[in-house]
């Protein structure tokens, strides 16, 4: 047995086949093919959908009474909607078929309930007949009440469907706003993080520069103090040398070929003295040079100890020790005792006045 395919059955259903094609399909169905009859029945569902492409229109009210009168209800049930203008159920056209499905599901349930109610009100053994007007009236009242309750349920379902339609949209809008705000906050946070990193780097750089400047300042301060002391000494030396009563003596090595040379200046009216030496030899760190002065009244008396510069030079200003009479001799010795009271070491340079 050769079965026509569903396309052919679809065209057959819509009377769009050629005569011979139509005859073949009809002959096949006449053979009692339940499968093709079933397919044709299912195609009817799609054909019904196509027919529903016609816009809905409300028929005149008497049509309902005529139909129900013909089937035995001499006093027909009141219509579900009493008139076209009486608050019809509004099903607007637009996207969102799921809302329709939700409402449809509700309506199917309502239909079952109403059918149940109708069955109870109009059970076979109590089914109203024209002669039973009072029973029919009671059933009519009961159904009218049931219908009113169900219409209220329909209204609630539609309200719920409307809420489901709007609430997610509102929620999405809120979420979108929160997302935008979060993105903006994230962007601001990223900018702040970058700014913070830049500022931290700048701060570290500034701290480094400040530390270097402080080090330079300390060094300069030390240099300034050194120079200040040197200036003071130089001024003192100049004052001493320019003093009217300044006297001096040349200190020479003890041996003819010994190292070093020095001059010793003093002024009684200023009360100080100065030794200016050069070419002094290097001595061990634990030893020191010591300047002694000898007056007519006795001596030698300690003037001071000193450490030459690296080039072997030294300029030492010191108070003139107390003593009686003229200066007779000046010596520079090398001492192991850092604070000697009498010369004990080697005499390096010496100058005597006769």
């Amino acid at each position: 047995m050769t079965h026509p395919n569903p396309d052919r059955l679809w065209l057959y259903h819509h009377d769009a086949l050629e005569a011979d094609e139509r005859a073949a399909v009809e002959a096949h169905l006449a053979e009692g093919c339940d499968a093709c009859a079933g397919t044709l029945g299912r195609l009817r569902d799609g054909a019904g959908t196509l027919a529903l492409g016609a816009p809905a229109a409300l028929p005149p009210e008497p049509v309902r009474a005529r139909i129900l009168g013909r089937v035995g209800l001499a006093n027909p049930l009141p219509p579900a909607v009493s008139s076209g203008a009486a608050a019809p159920r509004r099903v607007t056209r637009g996207p969102g078929g799921w809302q329709r499905v939700a409402v449809a599901a509700g309506l199917v349930g309502i239909g079952v309930l109403l059918g149940w109610g109708a069955n109870r009100a109009l059970a076979p053994d109590t089914r109203p007949r024209p002669a039973e007007a009072s029973g029919l009236a009671a059933a009519t009242t009961s159904l009218a009440e049931a219908r009113a309750a169900l219409e209220a349920q329909v209204a609630r379902l539609e309200a719920a469907a409307g809420a489901w339609q709007t609430e997610p949209a509102d929620g999405l809008a809120r979420l979108a706003q929160q997302r935008d705000a979060a993105l903006q906050s994230t962007a601001v946070a990223e900018r702040l993080a970058r700014t913070n990193a830049d500022l931290s780097a700048a701060l570290r750089s500034a701290q480094d520069r400040l530390r270097r400047r402080e080090e330079v300042a300390v060094r300069l301060t030390r240099e300034r103090d050194t120079l200040s002391r040197a200036l003071t000494d130089a001024n003192e030396a100049m004052a001493l040398l320019e003093s009217p009563g300044v006297e001096w003596v040349v200190l020479s090595p003890e041996g003819a070929s010994g190292p070093g040379a020095a001059r010793f200046f003093w002024a009684w009216e200023r009360g100080n003295c100065m030794v200016d030496a050069g070419n002094l030899p290097r001595i061990p760190a634990e030893q020191s040079f010591v300047l002694w002065i000898t007056y007519e009244s006795g001596g030698p008396t300690l003037v001071g100890t000193f450490v030459p510069e690296h080039d072997g030079t030294v300029r030492l200003l010191a108070p003139l020790p107390e003593g009686e009479g003229e200066v007779r001799a000046v010596h520079i010795t090398v001492e192991a005792d850092p604070r000697p009271t009498q010369p004990g070491g080697q005499t390096l340079l010496a100058g005597e006045l006769f």
Binding site: P6, C33, L43, A47, L58, R64, R89, A104
Partner: protein, 179 residues
């Protein structure tokens, strides 16, 4: 529909109240609003009452069953009365569907109507033209050829192609032929 088969008039009243707008809309689409469309509407529901065994719940929904029957009866009526001449004007009067026409409709009918419009939108303009004549005005292939001036073969081809395209969109689930 099962309670109608049990001869419960209230079930028929409920069926009518739920689907009268959709069914009458089909009748009015073919015949135009008026007594003829009302007669077909009445005939459809009377036939449901008188021949309930014809409905097979496993194959189609009640609304689809009513819609197919209504269109078929309306086409029969318009052919019987030979009123094709003014069908075009009725067609124009009903297109496009006004938004408030849906006010009395059910959600199920509305859903199906959306699908039907979406399917019609998939047709090529030349296919749509002949489908309108064929499906809603009930014209034969030859009458459409005469109306449009197209060759008969072209009319047949466009109708077949248009109907199959509509089926493809209305019933995307394959209906495998029996083996």
């Amino acid at each position: 529909m099962a309670r109608i088969a049990l001869r419960q008039e209230a079930a028929l009243a409920l069926l009518y109240d739920r689907h009268r707008a959709a069914v009458y809309g089909i009748c009015a689409r073919v015949l135009g609003p008026g007594p003829d469309a009302e007669d077909i509407l009445e005939d459809v529901f009377i036939e449901v009452w008188q021949r309930p065994e014809r409905y097979d719940a496993s194959r189609s929904a009640p609304l689809s069953y009513l819609a197919v029957m209504a269109r078929s009866r309306a086409i029969d009526r318009i052919r019987a009365k030979g009123r094709r001449a003014d069908a075009h004007e009725r067609h124009r009067a009903l297109e496009p569907p006004a938004e408030d026409k849906d006010a009395f409709d059910t959600a199920v009918a509305h859903e199906k109507r959306q699908r039907a419009w979406a399917a019609m939108d998939t047709l090529q303009p030349n296919e749509r033209e002949v489908i309108e004549f064929f499906y809603w005005r009930g014209l034969t292939h030859a009458e459409i050829a005469a109306e449009t001036g197209l060759p008969l073969g072209t009319v047949k081809t466009r109708i077949r192609r248009g109907l199959l395209r509509l089926r493809e969109h209305l019933m995307p689930t394959p209906l495998d032929p029996p083996t």
